[in-house]
Subunit: 407 residues, 2 copies
């Protein structure tokens, strides 16, 4: 163990005999934790979970579960005692608590100095701009008058009206929540009501959305997955295609390099998803702008479970333990991930049988969550040589499970 | 659920909300249970474990663990209450207990009438002979004099001496335990000391060992994995190559058909491993003889975790729940599994780092077991187009982890 989770002896006292394999403490019991546990089992890694309830997605399938509130420092401390490293299913743990754990001598990965860029969109934009990463034009705005001023500035640069603009609370948003598209200063009152600072961004006229996923370890080893296309419906990820079809080779390379550079500059440890807009300049030259960062396994990387030599989850585990990283290369020409959202009918099991019978190659990943309309309850992966076929199979299965496709 | 685990409503009362996914009760906490749980997580299946101790391989990673003795019927009954189906990590549960569970209305898969063929080598040989499956010549023997008589009979048929012979206790043996090779009647006293019936078999002069793995569901759907070559060292599986290199196509097809027929005739539900000897007739014609049967996921199928579209563990889960089976086809030209046995040095973690760094494509599966010399503590899978390379990588990793290779 010496030199792997640095500065700490492994928590071997908790297990009998000579086992020296480390314990990962995972904060948050959602599906990302569930799938990280799944990926850690073959690695022989011990997994300890801090979960809101015993019914959470990951808590159903893990052995060492602490039920408690991650917002409470003493709960976090008690949980972290006996763990070799702490990592996360979500970005909501308060920065000061992470600093306190570090002060206690517990490695936190990604660490609070990196994680703040995934927690606070204002900090993220400022830092990305500082390191020269291409971003949409943006400004922290205090009120609707500020929004109008920012719109006027964009209008002066581009011609046109400046609106519509995108407003985001700098903290707390996900899956389209905490995001507003406003067409005038009058429409801009709502985002300010939460009392959280608001970031205004130009509404990017993008060709499509991409994601560049990389994994970085504490000693600086890093791997890049192929850049993927991510298709959103109503602000929620619907389909991911790996690799992004028809993507300009130089642009793909540039996007991966950008993600690796962001990971290094921000000191990220573990999986980093860089969500990108692909845009075309007036002369037709393609380029990318950074939309969002996520410092954990990410929906745009779920395809790697069945489509890559090493999944994002396995590489996240390896990274936070400072183990050598696994090969991120694809195993198939095309892999497609389709998110399974809850539909109106709560029992998915009958639909599930039908999908298995229809497509014996289908890879299903269910999260053990109650079905609620629009809720992410699972995903499917398909792979093969023919993109049309691979896409059609994933879309059929996701639609059939949701109940929007009947045959 | 209706119609899948037949005759029982799903145990949904144990879980909140509308979740109707079934609960598998797994008897035995070894690595097969561990890897079955791992495979069940993406399927959304609830997993309940009956384990000898809380430290058993599977008990470390599962959420719903009952610690108790499977030989005690009341323990089994209490465990099975709330499970939709019972399946096994090993074949040691007494037949009368399985019948009692069935009488209670709990589906047991494989059922006791099938499982007895994997529990009792005498019953297995009698039944296989009855259905015309090719077996080594064999006889139940009562004492060394019986052994001598059987040897004399073989000598009369073949010329030669009849010896050496293989003696096996009909119950309780595994990994070379409960098996003796004797060169004379005088050497044949030991096997009779346990008071268990003894089976004598001719010592087959085989070319190599093969395994034909199939999975069968209650409604009779079945899939066959490619026939593999299994290399043993000191009676313990060392390396598995999928598919078996240079295997005669007709023989491979015949071996798969034989395994499917045995599964159907014996009413197997779940994974069935048919261990085979490949032999050559005097005229050079290759054929197979059945060596052993195992009715559960099997060491000769571990390669499927990384080498097949659907792993043996996922298909075992699907079969015992009567879900449609997944595609058993290989994903790579060659996949090699190398067993990791414990060596003299109890800490494997440092070696583990080295193996990961040396081969980023290596797939490691650790069981969370204490390292003891000769004990199976994990396995590695490698895959690719070049068999020599794939074999060398698996052998290096397995040897390095054990400590028999130093660089």
């Amino acid at each position: 163990m010496a030199g792997t989770v640095r500065g700490r002896a492994p928590a071997r006292g908790r297990y009998p005999g000579f086992v020296t394999f480390p314990v990962i403490g995972m904060v948050g019991g959602g599906q990302l934790a569930r799938m990280t546990h799944e990926a850690g089992i073959p690695l022989g890694i011990r997994f300890r979970l801090l979960s809101d309830t015993p019914q959470d997605s990951a808590a159903q399938v893990a052995g060492d579960v602490v039920v408690g509130d991650y917002r409470d420092l003493e709960t976090l401390r008690a949980f972290a005692h006996g763990c070799d490293v702490i990592t996360f299913d979500h970005e909501h743990v308060p920065t000061e608590h992470l600093r306190a754990l570090e002060a206690d001598g517990i490695p936190v990965r990604p660490g609070p100095e990196a994680l703040v860029h995934a927690q606070d969109k204002g900090v993220m934009r400022a830092r990305l701009t500082e390191i020269g990463a291409p971003c949409p034009r943006h400004r922290i705005v205090a009120d609707p008058a500020d929004v109008a001023a920012f719109a006027a500035e964009l209008a002066a640069e581009d011609g046109g009206e400046g609106f519509p603009l995108v407003l985001k609370t700098v903290r707390g948003g996900y899956d389209g929540k905490g995001v507003w598209i406003v067409r005038s200063a009058e429409e801009a009152a709502e985002p300010f009501r939460a009392g959280v600072p608001v970031l205004a961004e130009e509404k990017v006229d993008f060709v499509r959305e991409l994601a560049a996923n990389v994994v970085r370890s504490p000693h600086g080893q890093a791997v890049a997955y192929p850049v993927v296309e991510s298709q959103q419906v109503d602000g929620v990820c619907d389909t991911v295609i790996a690799p992004a079809p028809g993507l300009d080779e130089e642009l793909a390379l540039g996007a991966s390099e950008l993600a690796l550079r962001i990971a290094a500059e921000l000191g990220v440890v573990g999986h980093l998803a860089v969500e990108l807009f692909e845009v075309r300049a007036a002369d037709g030259t393609p380029r990318v702008l950074v939309n969002e960062l996520a410092m954990r396994p990410h929906n745009s990387g779920h395809w790697t479970q069945d489509g890559a030599v090493t999944s994002q989850f396995a590489n996240h585990v390896r990274a936070v333990l400072d183990l050598p990283l696994g090969d991120p290369r694809p195993r198939a020409r095309w892999t497609v991930m389709g998110n399974v959202l809850g539909g109106d009918y709560p029992d998915m099991y009958t639909a599930y049988l039908h999908c298995m019978a229809r497509d014996p190659q289908l890879k299903i990943h269910m999260y053990g969550k109650d079905v609620k309309p629009g809720r992410k309850v699972g995903h499917v992966n398909t792979y093969g040589d023919d993109l049309d076929d691979v896409l059609a199979r994933a879309r059929h299965a996701a639609g059939y499970l949701r109940g929007t496709i009947q045959e």
